[in-house]
């Protein structure tokens, strides 16, 4: 098939001009725009996180007062969840990589894709605008009745999350149709890379769970503005109902965050072990198993909310089931590495770190899944440490792995491998230094969200704060050498890692319509023997 872009150009430099980016329908450009936006919000969320940690370096009041503190942790949570972790992998990396892995020229609905991006931008601006209207102090969960009574700009932030939800739904819809309809000739469901499986399962969750949150947030806003009584017990409503609705979305949302991360690990591990993935089918099934179970476990966030003992036990039991497909995944990655010829490149270091910290995050999750233990740990730093091990240690590490892995494809340049390793070291050590002490604090009973911590926890808090600075420095370092690589890095070859998935068959960076020739699938996504024979 003919292509419209001149030979020698790529999607970054053809067509030219700022308007060609603003109006672009190219999934690669939209992916890069998402990447820049989410990285910017990541920086903002990170600054709020650092402020929290500085505050906790003093036993009494530190750099801010209590009301400011409530706002700072709310912005940290809201920005990181809705503007960073949820869109980061599917919308940024996924947008770029998914159609290419399928050998397609674009996603199914390119205009809708651009619309999703602008909806996301509008929603995130609305969310940040709350900073100028007294801020928001509800925490990212917006629990009623506090969120319906507080004097802060909760309604506006809730509407921002509502708007961003639509971006998420439309992206999921787009990706689902793309996977169904735009696969290359010869690419059956059994030949899909596992990253595609992960994004596909994520998309299902986005399409099925996000609308529920969206309407719940509308109900909350209506409640707040008109005092109509959905969640207000004095008007006959039920605040626990809000928690049910909220977690019906927000628990599956945890898997919106982590499934794509697992997808990246499933790409990186076989490539750098030079071995096909161990157990392709169980891996794909486990992805769907997690997505499926994720819809039936929301009650484990509510063990202390006063829901019935019976509900507690059932939710506790189902939650434990999540460990089964997750375990399948971890064992599969480890078995893939076994007797492989491992190349310790930066993406692989992050993948290794992912497995290490994700297992800690997962196992502590099992502790929290048990009703009896959770009554003790509920709302302590133990929970904070647990979900940071999964979200930061899991999703963020995997994102960074993916960013390094696809960096040559995105920009056609190589980063410095040594610089990459030192960045990794700082992030990994800093991460564990920050969050491991929080497990100990939580176990000793330190409550989360408190402005002042008990003096007994002072040393642990200091340790945690120093760790967070190290993470910060690590990411600043990553930013420095990646930006340097963008400008001065050596040119990357088309397939620098020797990967067998389709996106590497294009040039680096790809041309406007991805492939100069329509790709045909002749070997599996992890068939390195066939790749070398070619």
């Amino acid at each position: 098939m003919e292509h419209s872009s001149p030979v020698g150009t790529n999607y970054l430099n053809y067509p030219k001009g700022i308007w060609s980016w603003i109006y672009t329908l190219d999934h690669k450009r939209i992916g890069i725009m998402y990447l820049v936006s989410t990285l910017f919000y990541f920086l903002m969320g990170g600054i709020f996180a650092t402020l929290i940690r500085i505050e906790h370096m003093t036993v009494g009041p530190g750099i801010m007062d209590a009301n400011t503190y409530n706002r700072v942790f709310t912005y940290h949570g809201t920005i990181m969840v809705f503007m960073v972790i949820i869109p980061m992998i599917p919308a940024a990396i996924g947008n770029f990589v998914l159609p290419m892995m399928l050998g397609a020229k674009d996603v199914a609905f390119p205009r809708l894709n651009l619309l999703s991006y602008y909806i996301f931008v509008a929603g995130s601006f609305l969310g940040l605008a709350t900073l100028f209207f007294k801020g928001v102090d509800t925490g990212w969960t917006f629990y009623a009745p506090y969120s319906t009574r507080t004097g802060s700009a909760a309604a506006m932030m809730v509407m921002a999350a509502f708007v961003m939800g639509f971006s998420s739904i439309l992206t999921g819809l787009n990706f689902m149709a793309t996977v169904h309809k735009l696969r290359a000739p010869g690419q059956g469901w059994g030949e899909l890379p596992l990253f595609i499986w992960a994004i596909y399962a994520t998309s299902i969750i986005q399409v099925l769970a996000t609308p529920v949150l969206a309407l719940t947030l509308v109900m909350l806003a209506v409640e707040r503005i008109f005092q109509v009584g959905f969640f207000d017990a004095s008007l006959g409503g039920d605040p626990v109902l809000f928690q049910h609705f909220f977690w019906f979305y927000s628990h599956p949302a945890v898997y919106i965050m982590v499934l794509p991360a697992m997808g990246i690990i499933s790409e990186v591990v076989p490539v750098f072990s030079r071995k096909p993935i161990f157990g392709y089918k169980p891996m794909a099934l486990a992805t769907f198993g997690i997505a499926f179970v994720s819809f039936a476990v929301w009650g484990h966030h509510m063990f202390t909310s006063g829901q019935s003992d019976f509900a507690n036990k059932v939710f506790s039991l189902i939650t434990v089931f999540v460990a089964v497909p997750t375990g399948v995944k971890v064992f599969t990655w480890v078995a893939t590495m076994y007797r492989g010829s491992i190349r310790l490149k930066t993406p692989f270091w992050y993948a290794l770190a992912f497995m290490f910290v994700f297992v800690i995050g997962g196992m502590t999750g099992m502790v929290l899944a048990a009703v009896g233990a959770d009554i003790h740990f509920h709302d302590t730093y133990y929970v904070v440490a647990h979900f940071h091990y999964v979200m930061v240690g899991g999703t963020l590490m995997a994102f960074t792995a993916g960013l390094h892995y696809w960096f040559p494809k995105f920009f056609g340049r190589m980063y410095n491998e040594k610089a990459g390793f030192f960045g990794f070291l700082a992030v990994f050590v800093g991460f564990n230094l920050t969050f491991f002490p929080q497990f100990i604090m939580g176990q000793l009973g330190a409550p989360r969200r408190y402005y002042n911590n008990h003096p007994d926890f002072h040393e642990l808090n200091l340790l945690s704060s120093y760790g967070s600075f190290l993470i910060g420095l690590g990411f600043v370092w990553v930013a420095i050498y990646l930006v340097y690589a963008l400008v001065k890095g050596p040119k990357a070859s088309d397939n620098p890692w020797g990967s067998a998935t389709l996106e590497w068959e294009s040039t680096s960076p790809p041309a406007m319509e991805n492939f100069r020739h329509d790709p045909k699938v002749t070997h599996g996504p992890y068939d390195y023997v066939a790749l070398e024979r070619k």
Binding site: V107, V228, L235, G236, L241
Partner: protein
Amino acid sequence: MAAHETQVDSSELDGYVVPAQHHAHHFRSADHQFATAKQGMWIFVLQEVLFFSPLFVAYLIFKFMYFESFHAAAKELDWVLGAVNTVILLISSFTMARAVTAAQRGNRAALSENLFWTILCAFGFLIVKYLEYSHKFHVGTLPGSFFHNDELLAIAPQAPLFFTLYFCMTGLHGLHVAIGIGILIWLWIRSKRGDFGVNYYTPVEMTGLYWHLVDLVWIYLFPLLYLVS
């Protein structure tokens, strides 16, 4: 669909054929594009169902919590007007289905005519809804803290919550009807212009799916709100 697959040989169907029918660069053919659009629309319809779901769940929970109150409050609704609206929407779904068939056969006159009737029905629905709402504003059966009908409050202490749900559910549905009207008018203008033929009618069929969903939601709302008493 059948008509669409035979679009290459459209002479058999002797319907109107759109002159130049392009498909976007990432699709193999116009059929491929149509099938993809249709799947996307079905996924959208699916998320619409889930979008309405929290209100339905909240309604069911509160109904069983405050059975007596909801029973008494539901008696305040005029089931005759509700039934009239149900009939109006069913007719509109029928004309919409006929519009889709007309588009598939390339019958431009029938397409415009049926779209017109669908739009008219949709306006009729909103007018009846307006009459119902204004009556409620008049007697004070309003949501939550705006409720000021003391007689009803005496026998149904949770009536304010019932009307909160009533207004939110029918309001959200009404919003979907209003959006539908906008899309239908756009289709109607395009059909007059001759944008649709046997080889291209994707927007008509997609709007059909949307419109049937809006109808379906009402089919559930009507008995739940009006007929439970």
